[in-house]
Amino acid sequence: MSLKRFTEHALSEWMRGKGPQSDIVISSRVRVARNLSGLPFPMLATSAQSSQVVRRVEEALYAAKELPVLKEAELIRMDDLSELEKRVLVEKHLISPQLAEESRHGAVVLSKDEAISIMINEEDHIRIQVLYPGFQPQEAWRIANQLDDWFEKHLTYAFSEQTGYLTSCPTNVGTGIRASVMVHLPALAITKQLSRLFPAITQVGLAVRGIYGEGSEALGNLYQVSNQVTLGQREEEIIDKLASVVKQMIQHEQSARRRLAEGTPIQLEDRLYRSYGVLSQARVISTKEAMERLSDLRLGIDMGILSDIDANVMNELIVMTQPGFLQQYAQERLDSQERDIRRAVMIRERLHHEGTEDEQ
């Protein structure tokens, strides 16, 4: 299969990067945790009880197919997937590693565009997740809320008037909502402003996490900002607060980019062109280097320094150069050395078919 055809089938909507503020915000996600009344949480459920959860959700799903967003949705059982297939779903952020590796009777309902994934028998019985490209947490909540309403018509949730939706972990109780936004902050990183920004964000009750780190590092200047509090605030308040803080982060990043452009552009220009050079010529490249160079490439594109490259290459390649994806594309198991070689090939091909897209 050509890379282009593989890509067409492999990419989720959020990786295509066509969303508001997509020069800085990669994706917005809302996840809602729910449990069925009268059954123990997955951790203590028997095998029969867990399979009953799947059956009940499946029945509700059948009714929910009237919802346009779930029209062609599919329920996939973890037991029916290979290790590699599960890994690819994890890398696309559609399921958690926990569902893939530890769940019993774990399953996921996936919408056709993969914007909706409903995990069954993860830490909670049901986790409704909506994942959109760019900056649209409100829209993601609107859809998650609608799906939740729909399921609630058919399923009785564990709910208490005092504590709200009851979840396996006390950090999720109440609304059960976790909203997060993935942002790309290269200019704030270059100008060393993140260490001022992060404390300010945590002070207003949000958490920040560097992602795509192997071990202890945050790679590619990609960060995930999410709400910490799930109890005692309304869902809309939680989402609006996150949105307003992210809006301010976007403004800071934009002004840092403007200042970078005004300052000493030749050093920056050199660095960005070098990264482009490495990505388009390297024969062996590690995840770490790939992430860093892709971040530079994206910054160069967004600042108008590098032209004729699709801004989306970063969004696509950060996922497609992950181990599971590389092996899926290669259709074989690869050790880490082979992966570094394949990664370089994939990046070169992707950058190359940019220029020749019209001819194909």
Partner: protein
């Protein structure tokens, strides 16, 4: 930004926790966070779920244990959820409830935990449409009562009376449903 624990690796996890009523910031690298058995609200999926909460809950236990010790040598550590059988001790080790009835069973110990994690102890968000009817009505009554006193302050007595009637009919509905 450096990890505040080891001062070596860069911090990738940033969050706050409420300790003794004060917000405390944490900026940690993943390995230090893991070592501390830290629990990070808002940060999903970094570790396997187990043991995340234990540090936090054990702390909580030792505090309340201290208070109980005067009255009882073996305090409510052994409290057991009648439905799933999970004990409070087990809950404090694994940081997960076993079933929704655990919330009731461990009720008198959960408020300090919720306050530390969320800063609040009661739900203000969404209510299930089908089964949450009573709570919805009670919230509407609360809202109407506020409206009514505002009307009275503004001397809009006719409107206030209309609201009062609405409140009455909602209260009758609540009484009718029992409880």
């Amino acid at each position: 930004m450096q990890c505040q624990e080891c001062g070596e690796r860069s911090a990738t996890l940033h969050y706050t926790k409420i300790i003794n009523g004060e917000k405390t910031e944490f900026h940690l690298c993943e390995s230090c966070a893991r070592e501390k058995g830290e629990q990070m609200p808002g940060i999903d999926g970094s570790f396997s779920i187990h043991n995340l909460l234990s540090g936090l809950l054990n702390l909580d236990t030792s505090i309340s244990e201290g208070q109980h010790q005067v009255h009882d040598e073996t305090p409510s550590m052994g409290v057991r959820c009648p439905t799933c059988g999970l004990t409070y001790t087990q809950f404090s080790k694994i940081g997960r409830f076993g079933c929704s009835d655990c919330y009731q069973a461990f009720d008198d110990r959960l408020d300090p935990l919720f306050r530390r994690v969320h800063g609040h102890t009661s739900h203000r968000g969404k209510v299930p449409h089908r089964t949450g009817g009573r709570l919805k009505i009670r919230r509407e009554v609360e809202q109407l009562k506020q409206d009514m006193s505002r009307r009275i302050e503004n001397e809009e007595f006719e409107e206030a009376a209309r609201i009062r009637d609405r409140i009455r009919s909602l209260q009758e509905k609540l009484a009718g449903q029992g409880g």
